[in-house]
């Protein structure tokens, strides 16, 4: 199989029989998918990993280790800035996995800290963060309005000294989108972290639903495979602690109007990573799985998204699939009229920016 990374993720034991040139390709695919550190963890006990490949896995793990240390530090800083005004932030995604010490954190790399605060406390949270040194880098008036009126988060805020970025969410989907999860229930159900006073994470089922929501509303596929791997780790760990977890997951999906997203997540967890989803769960979600044509088109698109973004995995339809993903994400986020206006506006901004020189690093 061409996509060695997918095979290694599905059946790590098969890595034992790889040739050196296959290891070469596997390392490159894992690097492009931001999964070197995860692979290091997955193949940890395998004695047959050749030394030349092992060092690259270790390099990925070191980078992840370092980023997690920073995230722990950032989360504490955020907690002390927000707790002072009585806000208890709920960490989302990567930061939540790290602070809750979940398996999904092992070897994972990421850049930003995402957190959720109740909508009523949003202005207060923004002010508290600004006092503590985080500022919004978004200076364009249209983009500010885009975030504040139509999105589920503030424009990203960056710390003046440390350069760290925080995304403050007040719900998990844009208010203009078609599905309507209940953010108050998410916050009410959140679990305080015993080791990290003043911080909380979503309940297990909500955490899976949010990560899936984020993944299937995302317009760029750069970390799609990594996010799918996260979901696999989360579900496996929560199932081990609670045999009734599948049931709870479906129940929460109904409650938050996220059955469609969960159906998608489970479909591709099974197809891409070989996760065994009970037939009863698939059946319960089948009314939300779309019709045959929709499934066929989505499969064609996601097949090209859930793969390392590396030249060895590209085909003629890959650019089209990425374009379709971008459009789909916006389609889910906004009603058609607003979407048309927004895309025209963005296109114009791109054209008028085109005259500016590109900024890249010097050698």
């Amino acid at each position: 199989m061409r996509v060695l990374l997918l095979r290694a993720l599905r059946e790590p034991a098969t890595a034992a029989s790889l040739s050196l040139s296959q290891w070469d390709l596997l390392i490159r695919q894992a690097r492009h998918a931001n999964l070197l550190g995860h692979l290091h963890d997955l193949l940890h006990d395998m004695p047959s990993v050749p030394e030349v490949a092992q060092v690259h896995l270790l390099a990925g793990a070191r980078l992840a280790e370092r980023q997690q240390q920073s995230v722990r530090h950032e989360a504490q800083e955020l907690a002390s800035a927000l707790n002072a005004t009585g806000i208890r932030p709920v960490l989302l995604k990567g930061a939540a996995y790290v602070l809750a010490d979940l398996n999904a954190a092992r070897g994972r790399v990421f850049a930003d800290v995402d957190l959720l605060v109740p909508h009523g406390q949003l202005a207060q949270a923004e002010a508290a963060l600004m006092l503590a040194g985080w500022v919004s880098g978004e200076t364009d008036a249209y983009n500010q309005r885009y975030y504040r009126e139509w999105m589920h988060e503030l424009p990203p805020m960056q710390h003046l000294q440390r350069g760290s970025v925080v995304d403050v969410h007040h719900t998990i989907l844009p208010p203009t989108s078609r599905a309507h999860p209940d953010p108050a229930a998410l916050v009410a159900n959140a679990r305080a972290l015993a080791d990290w006073p003043g911080l909380a994470v979503l309940s297990p089922a909500d955490m899976v639903l949010h990560s899936a929501t984020h993944l299937f509303h995302e317009g760029e596929g750069d970390n799609a495979l990594r996010d799918l791997v996260d979901l696999r780790s989360l579900i496996a760990e929560f199932l081990a602690a609670d045999p009734d977890f599948w049931h709870r997951l479906v129940e929460q999906a109904h409650r938050h109007n996220l059955c469609e997203v969960l159906a998608l997540a489970l479909r591709y967890l099974a197809r891409v990573l070989g996760v065994a989803v009970p037939a009863a769960v698939t059946h319960a979600l089948s009314p939300h799985a779309g019709n045959m044509l929709q499934r066929l088109l989505r499969d064609q698109m996601y097949k090209r998204i859930f793969t390392p973004l590396h030249s060895s995995t590209k085909d003629l339809l890959t650019p089209l699939a990425r374009e379709a993903l971008y459009i789909r994400a916006h389609w889910l986020r906004m009603p058609p009229k607003l979407l048309t206006q927004h895309l025209l506006r963005k296109a114009w901004m791109r054209v008028s920016d085109a005259g500016q020189p590109l900024q890249t690093d010097q050698p």
């Binding site: 050196l20 040139s21 070469d24 270790l58 370092r66 890249t360 050698p363």
Partner: protein, 307 residues
């Protein structure tokens, strides 16, 4: 087989086709490029480096490709591509060879986080090595080139690769990057050396690339224990003078000159402590290369006698 075993046309064909695969110390590279002057540069500078086969593991797959569209023809440019990514802006086509060198440095410094990487020259003597960290302009490359041409083994002119697990240094034995005035200094010091360039008006001024001595390339697999840390500084006409440096001060200065100290965290701190436990640190001022080399030989001799 080494690179010099390939005829110039075979070398060009490999570069223009499936790629030239060769190793420098612990890393293997595959380089693809249609640029003829790059083939010539590689043939001269990497002559003694071992080739790698099609079935071997390659650490970094890179290419130097012609500029896009018009830039292929009008004031032509070249682009550095690593496995589909383009980390730099294009450069004038006549800088293809320095661009390859900077690109390979970028690959190692950006990806080899299993090692602690310092911005330092490293030279070996037997099983031991001297680590010379220094900012640009301190005369580090000139001194490094002079030592490499005077009986010391070249490990690297600007990338010290320390394995935190073993405390040993890996060598690369890649070309030495000489800048501006140091080009003529080294040409006077050793008129017979093979130098590519000069390449004018690069982002680092005028640069030239010095072929690593064949003996250093042959000995590159030998891991060395750091025995001295020397912070060199060129001062015109100054007599060569070594002054001891406090370990704590040296540790901060080393961390300051590291590429990935911040990524290594605890591992990096422990590795630098262990390094300085085994290698006393010195400040070194010099105005003349001959005196400087005598000073280094004496430093090495003192340890060899003690051992």
């Amino acid at each position: 087989m080494i690179v010099a075993d390939l005829s110039p046309s075979a070398l060009r064909a490999r570069l223009a086709g499936a790629g030239l695969r060769f190793a420098a110390g612990p890393f293997a590279f595959r380089v693809q490029s249609p640029q003829r002057d790059l083939a010539e540069g590689i043939g001269r500078l990497y002559a003694a480096h071992p080739l790698r086969g099609d079935d071997d593991f390659i650490d970094f797959h890179v290419a130097i490709l012609p500029g896009r569209n018009l830039r292929r023809f009008v004031r032509p440019q070249v682009r550095f591509v690593v496995d589909g990514l383009e980390p730099f802006k294009p450069l004038p086509a006549d800088q293809a060879m320095p661009m390859l060198e900077w690109g390979l440095n970028w690959c190692i410094a950006g990806y080899a986080n299993h090692l602690l990487m310092l911005h330092a020259a490293v030279l070996g003597r037997g099983d031991r090595a001297v680590v010379m960290p220094a900012p640009a302009g301190s005369g580090k490359s000139t001194l490094c080139a002079a030592l490499a041409l005077s009986g010391w083994d070249l490990l690297s002119d600007e990338l010290a690769l320390l394995d935190p697990a073993t405390g040993l240094l890996h060598g690369l034995a890649r070309p030495i990057n000489l800048k501006n005035a140091s080009i003529s200094v080294i040409r006077r010091f050793a008129p017979e050396v093979e130098v590519c360039g000069p390449y004018l008006d690069t982002t680092k001024g005028t640069v030239a690339l010095l072929r690593p001595p064949a003996g250093s390339v042959a000995a590159v697999a030998r891991l060395r224990r750091p025995a001295w840390v020397v912070f060199p500084k060129y001062v015109a006409d100054a007599p060569a003078r070594l002054t001891p440096m406090a370990p704590a001060e040296a540790l901060l200065a080393l961390a300051d000159n590291a590429f990935n100290y911040h990524i290594q965290g605890q591992h990096g701190f422990s590795a630098l402590c262990a390094l300085l436990d085994g290698a006393p640190a010195w400040r070194f001022e010099y105005g003349y290369l001959d005196e400087a080399i005598a000073c280094f030989d004496e430093l090495a001799g003192a340890v060899e006698q003690a051992a």
